[in-house]
């Protein structure tokens, strides 16, 4: 019957003497292993004038270290039949690979060289090259994409000057230009110690022997002074913020961002379920009203960002041709107000929960994604068991909780509204 499925992954948690947190979750259903290292540092740790640095730094960690040649990470992992990547986010930076299970030690060797022996491998030439790559990434993924600058514009208005969440992870061009080799060394020393990291292993391994291997490769890396966590002021109480930008697009898009419960907050799952109820599936509130009934929106989405310090909940709609942007915003806000004032039905809540749980299972199915979920739960919540508990937490959301969170979160004084509108075409 619906709602009876559940997940529970048996895992072990250890801490090496140098402070490295280690999580091992054996799963013998495929001959693979995921190795995932998450550092508790992200774009919110960047100082003024160095936006984008955490991400540029992530690129440099693929450029080799004392015992690993340039491009060695890619070469060794692909040669072993694995995949790899790294990502940077407001609160954390992660490096991960999924390998055939007999190559666990290859992953541990590469990740431990990165963590313990990075500095001898870095040069000005590598920094300059990756600076160019990252600037092209900014051009390709943001500046030359329709609506590509919307999120960074929302952040700039949602937070005060100096707030750690005010700038985008990719950073601004002039700051990417300003990064120096000295910055690189300093950032590494401050943030990349084993005691600021979590290593997750998911897959076809025996925990005891895997832990021995982890101790072998990581045990000798010395711990460092614990970095100070950035102070993240509450963004509440600033009142509604608004902005309009133009872009090379043909139809306007409305972004509504509400300050919401963070990933650490007991009400995170409630807010997240609310976004499923609002815009996931054709019967969801916003899609039903704007796409089916009024036919004023071409696309609608809603989601929360699982950020550590303060949360963000987005509702986004793209206008159909000829629809005035303010009317689209007004209608979105009318739908949100109806949820706050008239509440939700048991049936739509059930559906939202079932979709959220299906999404969760889909996200936990692969070893790589599951290692990512464990790392987030451990680093941002200090609670790796949240991976198992989240399933029932989403199941336990009730109408009262949804309605309370909706009234709290979807209030005008938490809102930053952005309109992206077509550029005025000059000339003809």
């Amino acid at each position: 019957m619906p709602g009876s499925s559940t997940v529970n992954f048996d895992f072990e948690e250890h801490r090496l003497d140098n402070g490295l947190r280690v999580i091992i979750q054996p799963d013998h259903s495929a001959p693979l292993v995921a190795v995932h290292v998450m550092y508790h540092v992200g774009s919110k740790n960047e100082r003024k004038g160095r936006t984008g640095f955490a991400h540029l730094f992530e690129h440099l960690l693929f450029q080799g270290s004392e015992h690993v040649p340039r491009e060695g990470h890619f070469k060794y992992i692909q040669d072993a039949g694995g995949t790899l990547n790294g990502t940077t986010w407001f609160d954390r930076t992660n490096y991960f690979e999924t390998l055939p299970a007999n190559e666990l030690e290859l992953g541990l060797w590469l990740e431990s060289d990165r963590m313990g022996f990075f500095k001898p491998g870095i040069t000005q030439e590598k920094l300059d090259n990756q600076r160019d790559v990252v600037k092209n990434e900014r051009l390709q993924s943001y500046e030359n994409r329709p609506y590509g600058l919307a999120f960074e514009t929302v952040l700039r208005h949602a937070y005060d000057e100096g707030h750690p969440y005010r700038h985008p992870t990719i950073g601004y061009m002039e700051d990417i230009d300003a990064a120096s080799l000295e910055d690189v060394h300093e950032f590494f020393d401050l943030n990349y110690g084993p005691n600021n990291a979590t290593l997750v292993i998911v897959g076809d391994v025996e925990p005891e022997s895997a832990l021995e291997k982890v101790e072998h490769w990581f045990g000798e890396i010395p711990s460092r002074p614990t970095p100070a966590r950035p102070i993240v002021p509450s963004p509440l109480g600033r009142g509604e913020r608004r902005e309009v930008i133009s872009d090379k697009v043909q139809v306007p898009r409305v972004y509504l961002m509400y300050h919401s419960p963070s990933y650490n907050d007991p009400e995170f799952e409630v807010a997240d379920t609310l976004t499923y109820l609002l815009a996931d599936g054709n019967s969801s509130r916003l899609r039903q009203a704007l796409v089916y009934e009024q036919q004023i929106a071409a696309e609608v989405s809603a989601f929360t960002w699982p950020t550590e310090s303060v949360g963000m909940c987005f509702a986004i709609a793209t206008a159909r041709p000829g629809v005035e942007v303010q009317r689209l915003e007004d209608e979105m806000r009318r739908v949100l107000r109806t949820v706050c004032e008239a509440g939700v039905s048991e049936e739509e809540l059930d559906g939202a929960q079932n979709r959220a749980r299906r999404g969760l299972v889909q996200q936990l199915a692969g070893f790589g994604d599951r290692s990512d979920a464990f790392a987030h739960a451990a680093v941002l919540r200090g609670q790796p068991s949240y991976v198992n508990e989240s399933f029932s937490a989403y199941g336990a959301v009730d109408r009262g909780a949804i309605e309370t969170v909706a009234r709290d979160v979807l209030s005008d004084d938490r809102l930053t509204a952005l309109h992206v509108v077509p550029e005025e075409v000059g000339g003809s």
Partner: protein
């Protein structure tokens, strides 16, 4: 004691590759069913492949197959679109139907606790869609909006212009989902007729993988779909268009801060005898991160976030495309480097180190490619869509490992001759500079 870090640690004993095993069945209506049981996660992935793709529509109505697929959930029997949406959303299942060139694929993903109802939903959509006129108009208009919005994205503009350049009016030359010209002439009656003539058990394949035993899967499928009659035959694969090349197309998009860059030609079908040599050649040229083109343009020059090549294997000859996005000022240089790398593949033998890397990356990654239920059903669907032999994956490793440097040079000579290559870029014509003329007569067009 210090750890010796000077060498890559030796791998442990390799674990055997376990390809999923499927139980096959054929229902009375002709529907073939492939079932694989996987219990580690309470999920089910399902894909239904039907002979209802774009090759079965009139070229003047390009997009009919896709519109039909998109309309399946917009009303069935006496349920209207909203009632269908509520049903699906209550199950928490995902449902995606989209047309390919030859076939249409319906993909569902759901938790195993809703298996029976998910199958019931699927059955309603494929056997009794009602295509209400108002919903037809809404979905058609949504597609027209989508076409307009795609013009905002320079990468999509480049890809659409490129296939038109290579294939013209032929099947592979236009987006499957239709164009501004073809979508408005499609009617509700066309959709209903397309469904009647193409949808049915005959010629269809249902692939299910996930957390339910084979008997339960089979009984559920049999219970719902045994009477799903009708269906359609497979069409012949499209022929290769007349060879062309030498075009240099610049699509002007004023104010673009980057250039989308494509170098392309008509490639080969899946069934070509030198298939595996092409796969390895592509990995070395531009398929892997450590490929020649990416190492050159990204890691050496720093001109781009990434550069890749691909051979689009299909039943007919899909395109070979090298693609990247670079700073506008180096557009001509980027074309020059891509052409140089292609030429080197045609004149020199690849090194044994590069060959080893490519072969290992392609074969040792097989367990990863078959990791989850959704990947497994996608692989089986692709095998069906492209008429791959049933032992394609069993022999894949041996075939890839047998490829030699001579064979790689030979396929590059055969398929990537410079006179066959089309060059295309989408960028700001004023900022791109003069350098493009050296590749041939420049054909400048407006992005709108």
């Amino acid at each position: 004691m210090t750890v010796d870090r000077s060498q890559r640690p030796a791998p442990g004993d390799p674990r055997p590759l376990r390809l999923p095993t499927f139980a096959s069945a054929k229902l009375g209506c002709g529907l073939e069913v492939e079932i694989a049981h996987r219990e580690s996660i309470p999920e089910v992935s399902l894909r239904l492949v039907l002979e209802a793709g774009a090759c079965h529509e009139s070229p003047a109505k390009r997009g009919l197959a896709e519109l039909t697929a998109r309309l399946l959930t917009e009303g069935t029997g006496d349920r209207d679109a909203l009632s269908m949406a509520r049903w699906l959303d209550r199950l928490g299942a995902s449902y995606d139907a989209s047309a390919g060139y030859g076939t249409c694929t319906i993909s569902m993903h759901f938790l195993s606790d809703v298996l029976e109802e998910a199958l019931e939903f699927l059955t309603a959509t494929i056997s009794h869609p009602s295509f209400p006129e108002a919903d037809f108009v809404r979905i058609r208009d949504e597609r027209l909006d989508e076409i307009e919005r795609q013009r905002d994205d320079p990468a999509t503009v480049a890809d659409h212009a490129l296939i038109a350049e290579l294939y013209g009016e032929a099947l592979y030359g236009r987006p499957i989902a239709g164009t501004r010209e073809t979508i408005p002439v499609i009617t509700r009656a066309d959709v209903a007729e397309f469904h009647t003539s193409r949808y049915g058990g005959a010629g269809a394949l249902l692939i299910v993988c996930g957390d339910a035993d084979e008997a339960r899967f089979h009984d559920t499928v049999e219970g719902h779909l045994a009477a799903w009659t009708g269906g359609g035959d497979r069409a012949a694969p499209p022929e290769a268009p007349a060879p062309k090349g030498g075009e240099v197309v610049l699509i002007d998009r004023p104010g673009s801060p980057q250039a989308e860059v494509r170098v392309a030609t008509v490639g080969v079908p899946y069934g070509t005898p030198d298939h595996h040599a092409i796969v390895v050649a592509n990995a070395i040229l531009g398929g892997l991160f450590n490929s020649r083109i990416n190492m050159n343009l990204r890691e050496d020059k720093g001109w781009t976030y990434g550069a890749r090549t691909s051979f689009g294997f299909r039943r007919g000859p899909g395109p070979f495309v090298a693609r990247t996005a670079v700073e506008t000022g180096v557009t001509a240089d980027a074309f020059g480097e891509i052409l140089k790398e292609i030429e080197t593949m045609r004149t020199e033998l690849v090194s044994s180190e590069e060959l080893d890397l490519a072969q290992h990356a392609l074969t040792l990654s097989l367990p990863l490619q078959f990791e989850g239920a959704a990947q497994i059903t996608a692989k089986v669907a692709r095998q069906r869509i492209n008429d791959l032999p049933s032992d394609y994956w069993e022999v894949y490793r041996d075939r890839i490992e047998a490829v030699t440097p001579d064979e790689i040079r030979e396929v590059c000579r055969r398929y990537l001759a410079p006179e066959r290559l089309t060059l295309l870029t989408v960028t700001d014509a004023d900022a791109v500079g003069k350098g493009l003329e050296r590749f041939g007569a420049l054909d400048v067009r407006s992005a709108t």
